[in-house]
């Protein structure tokens, strides 16, 4: 169903398509550990039965309508303190892919993709560390493309490329385009142009420079997102002018409605 990519250097040269599987990340991890997958290999499925969001939260998707895939990467050039750059690059690559079709695409810290205020995709990265060196990374990507009915999502705060554009997409044609955009940002990172990745990631952060209300330690607090720290913490300017950094579990997004 999916042909290997012709326009990339190494992303998607090998594509493993599984009509259905438990989790593309788990399959990719198993294969890469057995030495069966090289840098840039892709595992893609029509139906993932045990997909994961952040540790334990599930990511449900309709069969064959969306992108559910994992990319194997070996970012051995990144030090342990630079890991967040990988997260930033992937989010930015997906954003750049979506930007060909829609506007108002935002990266919701740390690495979810939003169109306006609705979630369109997410990223889950699993690294295997040996000491302080990354042996390999498995980058799981879920991106809503053709799904039109999200009645099964309780929050309703989701969308797809189809809902935003009115078009339907041929996944096999779109995959090389997505992988090309991911690779472009990744190559910048590999070439040491990490500062440009940080700057662009910041430009597309949802809520940047806007006064919004966040839940911090159970209290509603008004703050303005200033950017992220080198390790990926969210930098928020509070009402008293103080800038504080928050870890992912310390701050919760509050939606206006």
């Amino acid at each position: 169903m999916y042909d290997s990519c012709t326009k990339t250097l190494f992303f998607g040269k090998k594509i493993v398509y599984l009509p259905t599987c438990h989790s593309t990340n788990d399959i990719a991890t198993e294969l890469v550990r057995n030495g069966k997958l090289a840098d840039g290999a892709v595992i893609i499925t029509d139906e993932q039965t045990g997909g994961r969001g952040q540790h334990g939260t599930s990511w449900l998707t309709s069969r064959g309508q969306n992108f559910t895939l994992s990319v194997v990467l070996m970012p051995t050039f990144l030090s342990l303190s630079e890991h967040f750059l990988l997260s930033q690059s992937i989010a930015l690559g997906i954003r750049n892919y979506l930007a060909d079709f829609v506007s108002n695409i935002w990266i919701k810290w740390p690495n979810d993709l939003y169109i306006n205020d609705l979630k369109v995709g997410g990223v889950l990265i699993e690294n295997a560390l040996q000491g302080t060196r990354i042996a390999h990374s498995v980058v799981g990507i879920g991106l809503n493309i053709n799904q039109a009915d999200f009645s099964s999502v309780p929050s309703g705060r989701v969308t797809s490329l189809r809902l935003e554009t009115g078009m339907t997409f041929h996944l096999a044609e779109q995959l090389p385009r997505l992988l090309l955009e991911l690779e472009k940002v990744y190559l910048r990172l590999r070439a040491g142009r990490s500062e440009s990745v940080r700057i662009e990631y910041r430009q597309h952060l949802l809520g940047l420079g806007q006064k919004r209300v966040y839940s911090i330690g159970g209290q509603l607090v008004e703050g303005t997102i200033m950017g992220v720290s080198l390790t990926g913490k969210l930098r928020l300017e509070l009402a008293n002018g103080e800038i504080c950094e928050f870890d992912i579990k310390e701050i919760k997004w509050q939606w206006a409605d």
């Binding site: 540790h55 890991h83 889950l124 699993e126 690294n127 295997a128 560390l129 040996q130 000491g131």
Partner: protein
């Protein structure tokens, strides 16, 4: 000298770390000697789970609580390898809540064997062992925060 005073004196000597004390006054002559039998066990290592030592054989600890005080140094005194966290994050013993734990106490591990997951900023880092041995103790609760360099596992080399 009253019994109470003698008791106090023995307690004092027990906590002093001295092996033998001889006191002589005009009224009495008292000689207190530590129980000689456990001297072979002096390197505390082998006595992790042993019964509390006889009162007078208490090691030179300032507190009068012999058993718990002895347990901690006992472990570190052995040749266990400590596997430490390479980063700040949240410690998980399995790759997902429904997955089996990566290692249990008693499991043998080798370099490359995944032992835990540490999550930081939605990056899930599988920590692979760099050592060979057998897991003796898991030092951190599942799903709790860990600091850089915090000990995670004790491993007995084999």
């Amino acid at each position: 000298m009253e019994t109470k005073e003698i008791q106090k004196l023995i307690d004092f000597i027990a906590q002093s770390g001295l092996d033998e004390v001889n006191i002589e006054t005009s009224e009495l002559k008292i000689k207190v000697k530590r129980n000689a039998t456990p001297t072979n066990a002096a390197p505390v290592a082998a006595s992790v789970a042993s019964a509390p030592a006889p009162v007078l054989a208490v090691p030179a600890a300032p507190t009068p609580a012999p058993a718990p005080a002895a347990a901690a140094p006992a472990e570190s005194a052995t040749n266990y390898i400590t596997v430490k966290s390479p980063m700040i994050g949240t410690f998980y013993r399995a790759s997902s809540p429904e997955a089996p734990t990566l290692v249990e106490v008693g499991d043998e591990i080798k370099p490359g064997k995944p032992v835990c997951i540490i999550e930081a900023m939605k990056l899930f880092n599988e920590i692979e062992s760099e050592v060979s041995g057998r897991i003796v103790k898991v030092l951190v609760e599942n799903a709790t925060p860990v600091e850089f360099d915090q000990p995670l596992f004790l491993v007995e080399p084999i």
